[in-house]
């Protein structure tokens, strides 16, 4: 059974979103997603400064198995990307919830509330399987 922390919000396309103390939102992929992908070998991240719409393609995760698009679960401007993942993509497998991909300054914080909570996301994953 994969790990689904309660304090995060999730998208049905398997990204997680965390509201940070400064009001920005960190985004990564869920434990369920990394397990399904297998060993992650490359990550393509958005450019800092890019303006993303909720549901828009924001990057690509390449695993030994396949290439998967990453979607931004909320709208906003990219203010940081996690450079560490370029050299150590395997961190996504080891620590999916510490391995944030990018941070956005949300243009509409209410979008967070529209994402799935842990229980709803877990239910969605079980329905998939």
């Amino acid at each position: 059974m994969s790990n689904t922390p309660n304090e995060l919000r999730y998208s049905s396309s398997h990204e997680w979103a965390r509201l940070e103390a400064d009001g920005t939102v960190s985004i990564g992929i869920s434990d369920h997603a990394q397990e399904a992908l297998g060993d992650v070998v490359f990550i393509e991240l958005p450019e800092v400064g890019a303006q993303l719409e909720a549901g828009q393609t924001a990057g690509v995760v390449e695993s030994v198995k396949a290439a998967s698009d990453i979607y931004s679960p909320i709208s906003g401007k990219v203010i940081a990307i996690n450079e560490e993942l370029a050299d150590q993509p395997e961190l996504v497998n080891a620590e999916p919830y510490d391995s944030w991909f990018f941070r956005v300054n949300p243009s509409n914080p209410a979008e967070l509330e529209q994402l799935l909570d842990a229980a709803a996301y877990q239910a969605a994953c079980s329905a998939d399987a």
Binding site: G38, D39, F42, V60, E62, V64, K65, E90, N93
Partner: protein
Amino acid sequence: MGQRTPLFDQHLAFGAKMVDFGGWDMPLHYGSQVEEHHQVRRDCGVFDVSHMTIVDITGAQAQDWLQHLLANDVARLGFMGKALYSAMLNEAGGVIDDLIVYLTDFGYRMVVNAATRDKDLAWMQRQTTGFDVTLTERSDLAMLAVQGPNARAKVATVVANARASLIDGLKVFQGLPEGDWFIARTGYTGEDGLEIMLPATEAASFFNELVGIGVAPIGLGARDTLRLEAGMNLYGQDMNEETSPLAANMGWTIAWEPQERNFIGRAALESQRTQANLPKLVGLVLDERGVLRAHQLVKVAGIGEGEITSGTFSPTLGKSIALARVPATTADRAEVEIRGKCYPVRVVQPNFVRQGKILV
């Protein structure tokens, strides 16, 4: 539910992620495919390959029949146990399957792919007409591959003395029986190692014993990256019934001499051989970040286009590699289209890693 090998319960017990492979429930990995890959290159690991099909060939005309059936020539098997890699072709010269055949005291033992079992056996049976030959499928046997630089030494510590000394004396590409086991120094990884055929009833305890002394179980995921680094073809991906072996880097497996040996597909190959425009199977290396995958488009400037047949991330190189079928005149550079963007690749001999060493 798919077919299960005698080691199905062991795979679950060791935490395997199971997948369907040619109708069989097989382990993809037991945690990390990349770690398993490194384990084989640096030490050794054990693969369950019991899904593969073993066929014993007996009868007074076993040799004549195989000389008719196979593109390679079993007359080349110069000593007991020697193994031969060959294509089995249809009349049009397309590859029905690739296989290994061993010379044995009873005749020959052949190992063919799992996913092609039914069509292979039907084809082979049909070709026996007029030959004094009998085919016996050995579904009573399991098969384990133990591969890696330390494979032979480690296996030797958990088997009886007679088997240990047999392993010590085996030549590369030779397989010999010991009791009801058959131990061969062959494999699909580019490393030294063994493929061991043994009674299915003994497979689980032998597998457990190997894991017990630190030989890691390895899934099909790492099997694929290991064979691709070694430049070995995968049937159904790098060649099939529509592919000539001459366009699949298998020219070396065709025994043209003696000219009077009229193997199935020979006439078609003879005419293909004179064509200068037959494509070739090459290796590709992507030095930038990204992963080459099967069916991606290969562009060769001023010459034409080709296609990736197998692509992956190579754990040993730390970058992506592929096998690709490209125009015959392709030199040492090409481009691959990944998600609409073109990336430069190096075109190399399809042999990336051998015995732990990077060749490209």
